[in-house]
Symmetry: C2
Subunit: 338 residues, 2 copies
C-alpha cells in the first residue's frame, strides 16, 4: 500500500517525469527505460493515485447523473444505457438520486462544477432557466435526457406526438369516452416541465382532431405512482359516465389503472381499454399496450453526446429526437357499447 511515483523513480534510477511519461504512454521514452520502469512498477505493485492524478489534471474523471431513479422504472432503464455507453471510457459514474425539491436544487447547484464532475447528465428533470444558465457558465458539459432547457443539448422524444399517437389509436378503435391520467400539471420537483404534460397536450390534440369534445372530468393529474394512478382511475370509473378507454402517461400509471379496473371488476380490454407510455420491461410481461420510446438508447445517446463534448466537439444538434412507436398488446380493443 502506498508506493508513490517517487518510489518508482528512485528504484528505477530515473527521473520522476519519466515515470509519469511511461504511465501516460508518452512516446518520448526509450524502450529500454520504459521497460525498466515497467518492471519496477510491477515489482512495487505501484498504481498511480487517481485522486492525485485528478488534482494535477484538474479533471475529476467522473460523469455525474442526476435523476429521480427510484420513482421511475423508465429512468433505471435509461441509466442502463448510460452505464453501457460509459463502460470502458475511463470515467466513473456517480449518481445523484433526486426525490425532493431541496435535493434537486442542491444537485443542480453543486454537481455541475469542474471540481466535481467532468460532465453531467440530467434525466427526467428540467433545470429552470436560471439553473440552466448557471450550468452553461460552469464550463462543465451538461446533457439532458427526457427534458429540455434553453441552451442545453438534449436527447428526447416528441411527447406531444406520442400522446397523440396513443390517443388516436384509442379513438380509431372506436372509443369516444377517452380519459387521461398523468402527473400534476404543477410540480415543483420537475419545475412543471414533465413529459406527462406534453403527452397530455397530445391527448387533447388528438381529441380535437377527431372532433371529440374535451371533458374536464376525464382529465386527471396526480402525483406520479402506481397507487395514485389506481385511485384516480377508480374515481374515473365510478363516474356516472365512465370512460371506455384510458390513456396513462406512463406504464407505471397504466399499471395502477389496470389494478383499478380489477378492483371494480371492469374487464380489460373487454369493457375498458388501457394504454400506457414508455414500454418499460414489465409492460411486455403483463401485455400492456403502450407507446414505446427507446429508453436504453436515450441514456446511451446522452453519454455519447457528453463524451463528444468532453473531447471538444460542440453538439451539432442541440435537440436530438428519438422516435416512438405504438405497441398494441392485450389491454386495448375495439369499442363495444354496453
Amino acid at each position: 500500500m502506498g508506493a508513490t511515483i517517487r518510489d518508482v523513480a528512485r528504484r528505477a534510477g530515473v527521473g520522476l517525469g519519466t515515470v509519469s511519461r511511461v504511465l501516460n504512454n508518452s512516446p518520448l521514452v526509450s524502450p529500454a527505460t520504459r521497460q525498466r520502469v515497467l518492471d519496477v512498477i510491477a515489482e512495487l505493485h505501484y498504481t498511480p493515485s487517481q485522486i492525485a492524478r485528478s488534482f494535477a489534471l484538474g479533471r475529476t474523471l467522473t460523469i455525474s447523473t442526476i435523476a429521480p431513479f427510484f420513482t421511475r422504472p423508465s429512468v433505471v432503464e435509461r441509466l442502463r444505457g448510460v452505464e453501457a455507453a460509459l463502460a470502458g471510457s475511463g470515467y466513473n459514474l456517480v449518481v445523484f438520486n433526486v426525490e425532493t425539491v431541496e435535493r434537486r436544487v442542491a444537485c443542480f447547484r453543486d454537481v455541475p462544477r469542474r471540481d466535481r464532475s467532468d460532465g453531467v447528465l440530467i434525466i427526467s428533470l428540467a433545470p429552470r432557466p436560471v439553473e440552466a444558465a448557471a450550468m452553461g457558465d460552469s464550463g462543465v458539459p451538461v446533457v439532458l435526457v427526457d427534458t429540455f432547457a434553453a441552451g442545453l443539448p438534449s436527447v428526447l422524444v416528441d411527447d406531444v406526438a406520442g400522446g397523440e399517437l396513443a390517443t388516436r389509436y384509442l379513438i380509431e378503435l372506436g372509443h369516444r369516452a377517452v380519459a387521461f391520467i398523468g402527473d400534476p400539471l404543477e410540480d415543483p420537483l420537475t419545475f412543471n416541465f414533465t413529459s406527462s404534460r406534453d403527452r397530455f397536450a397530445g391527448y387533447r390534440r388528438a381529441l380535437a382532431a377527431y372532433g371529440v369534445a374535451l371533458r374536464p372530468e376525464y382529465e386527471c393529474h396526480g402525483v406520479h405512482g402506481r397507487y395514485e394512478a389506481r385511485s384516480m382511475a377508480r374515481a374515473l370509473l365510478q363516474q356516472p359516465e365512465p370512460p371506455s378507454a384510458i390513456f396513462a402517461a406512463s406504464d407505471t400509471q397504466a399499471m395502477g389503472v389496470l389494478e383499478a379496473a380489477r378492483d371494480l371488476g371492469r374487464d380489460v380490454p373487454g369493457s375498458l381499454s388501457v394504454i400506457g407510455f414508455d414500454d418499460i420491461d414489465v409492460a411486455e410481461y403483463i401485455g400492456l399496450s403502450t407507446v414505446r420510446q427507446p429508453l436504453f438508447e436515450s441514456g446511451a445517446r446522452g453519454v455519447e453526446l457528453l463524451l463528444a463534448m468532453l473531447s471538444g466537439s460542440a453538439p451539432r444538434t442541440p435537440l436530438e429526437y428519438l422516435s416512438v412507436d405504438l405497441v398494441a398488446r392485450a389491454t386495448t380493443a375495439p369499442y363495444r357499447p354496453g
Copy 2:
C-alpha cells in the same frame, strides 16, 4: 469560476489557514473574523474545490458500490436502500455495474483502494478468498450485501432456510412433484457463490425432511433471467411426469415460469403452483407467491455498517442476518390430482 482559498484570504485580509478554519467550522476563529471571511466567500461565490480537498485530506469522499445492477431487479431495490442511507452523509455514491468476469476482476482489484473509495459495498457478488484478502489489506472498509467472504462483514439472509421455507410450503400444500429452477451451480461471474445455490440446498433439505425423493430431472440450473427460466420451465412441464409445483430461486425466474405455464396452457395455480424468492416490486402486482427478504433494508443496513466502520468502529457482528417471510399470494394452491 475559479476563486481559490487564496483569493478569499487576500480579499478578507486574513491568512490562508483562517479561511480553511472557517470552512471547516473550527471554533478557533473569532466571530468577527469568521463573519468577514464568510462575507468575502459569499461575495466571490467561492466554494472549495472538492478535489483539492480530497487530495489534501487523503480521502475521496465517495462510497463505491459494485453489483450486477441491471440483470437483477432485486439489486436495484437494494441500491435504493443504499442511496437512502447515504443521503446527507456527505459521501458521493459511485456505482460499478458488473456483468462480466473481466469487469468483476477489475472492479474487485481497483475499486477498493484508498485513492478511489473511502468505503466499498459489494452486492450479490462474492469475492474469492484472495480477492477478499486483498480487500482486507487495502485498508478500505468493505461491506458485503447478499454474499459472503471470509474476513469481510456482510448483511444477508439465511437463503438455505428461505429455500426450505418455500419448499416446505409447497409440500404442505400437498405437492410431491416439486421442481427447482435456479442459477447455474458453477458461475464464474459469482465465483460459484450464489444465493440461488443456498436456496437450492434448502429445497433439497425440505424434500429430505418430508421423505420426498430427489429427482434430478426436477433440478434445473441455468443462466439467470426470465427468458432462460421460461425455457427451462417449458422443458420441465413437457416431461412425462411434469411437476405440480415449481420453486424458482428468484422472482424474475418465477416470472419466466409463469410465462412457460401460460405458453403451455397450464393453469396457475389450478394445475401448477409457482413460488419465487425476493418479493421484488412487481411480485405483488402479478400476485406471485414468494419468500420475501428485506431488499431495501439490506442496502441501508450495509451502508450503516460501512459508515460505522468509516468512523472507526469495527463491526460488532461480522455476519448480520435479516429475516425472510413467506408471502402466499395467487400462484400457489393445494395440490389437486389430475
